[in-house]
Amino acid sequence: MDTSRLITEIAAGSEPIPRLPPPWVRAAMWLALAMPVMVVVMAFHGLEVDLVTALGDNRFVIEQIATVATALGAAVAAFHSTIPGRDRRWYWLISIPLAVWLATVGAGCVSDWRAMGPAGLRLYLDTGCLLPMVLIGFVPVVTMVAMLRRGAPLSPRLTLILGALATAGLVNFALRIFHIGDVSVMVLVWHLGLVAALSAGAGILAPRILGWARLIAGLPVSHRAA
C-alpha cells in the first residue's frame, strides 16, 4: 500500500483516545486493584503474625519497607518504560531497596542459624503458603500485564521483568504479614525464588506478551494490502 493512502486510512479511522495517566498514577491504580483481593485472602486466611510484636522487630520492619519500596518502584518503572522518550537511568535506584530487602533476609538467615543451628537453615516445601500466594498473586499479575500492554513495547523484557518484580514484591509483602513460621532461608529461597522465577519467565515470554507485532496486527487498517 502507498504510504499516503495508509496515512489517509489511519487518520480517517482514528477515534478520540484517552491519554495514559502518568506512571505513578498507573502504579497506584494497579495497587488499588490488587489490594482488595489481598485483604480478602488475608481475612479468610487469618493473620498468623502478631503484628504488634512484629512491628517491634526492626529487621521485619526494614524488610517490609524495602519490599514495598521495591514493588512500588518496580511498578512505576515498568509503566514508565512503556512511554517513549523518557529517561530510564533512575531505574537503577530500585536496586537500593532490593539490596536492602536481600540484605535483611540474608541477615535473618544468619541469625536463624545462630539461634537454631542447622534447623535454622532447613528448607522444606510449605504447601500451606502456596494457595494464598497464588490467590494473592493472580490479580496483580493479570492487571499488571493488561496495563503494560496498553503502553509502547520499547523494551518488552525490561518492562515485564520490572512488572514481575513489582508483583512478586507485593505478594511477598502480603505473605510476610499474615503467614508465620518461615525461617529466613525459606523466605530467601521460596519468596525470592518466586521473584527470580517470575522475572525469568517474564523475560522469556516478553516479546510474545508485549510486542509491536501484536499491536500492529490489532489495528483496523489494511497495511500492505496492496
Binding site: 500500500m1 489517509t8 489511519i10 517513549p84 509502547a152 520499547l154
Partner: protein, 193 residues
Amino acid sequence: MDKTAENADPLGALMCLAQAGDAAAYDRLLRQCADLIRRTVKRRYPFLAEPDAEDLVQDILLSVHSVRATYDGNRPFVPWLMTIVRNRIADMARRYARKSAREVAVEKYPETFEAAQANMADEVYGDPEALQQALTKLPEGQRTAIELLKLREMSLKEASEASGMSISALKVATHRATRALRMTLHPSDGYGH
C-alpha cells in the same frame, strides 16, 4: 493547559488534537512524521531499497498510531517520536540479522545432491526423440507403466485400474523401465553395473 497547545511544539499540538479525535490534524501530523521518519531511515540505512525503506516507514507510522495514547501533551513531541523510530529501526535490524544468520542468498538454488546421477532431470528429457525411441524399445509392461505414471502422471492406484496391473507390478516395471532408459540414453553413466 498543554504547553503544546500554545504553539511551542506544533507537532505536539497536532498530536493533542489527534488524541481528541481531530482526523484532519492527525492526517497532517502523520504526513509530517512520515517525512521525518523517511529521512531518518534513509540516513541510517542508505543501502535499503526504496520499497523496503517505505515498508519500514509504514511500519513505524503504524507503531506511532498504535501507541498514540502514551504521548503526554506537556512534553516535546519529537523525542517521543524519535524513540519509537529508533526502536523500530533497531527491531528491523535485529530481524534482518536473524534472517541473515539463518539464510544464505544464492542466485541459483543448489541441486539436490552433488552426484551427477541425482541431477538428471534436465538431461533425461533433453532429447525427446531419443526418449521416444528408447520408450518403444521397452517391454510392453514397462512402457505402459512409464506412460501412465510418468507421462500421464497418474497415481499408482489410477494406473493400476487403467492397466489391470497390480500396484507392486507397476512399481517394479517403472523401476526397471527407468533403469533401462538411463542405460539407453546415458550408457556412459554405468547404470546397471
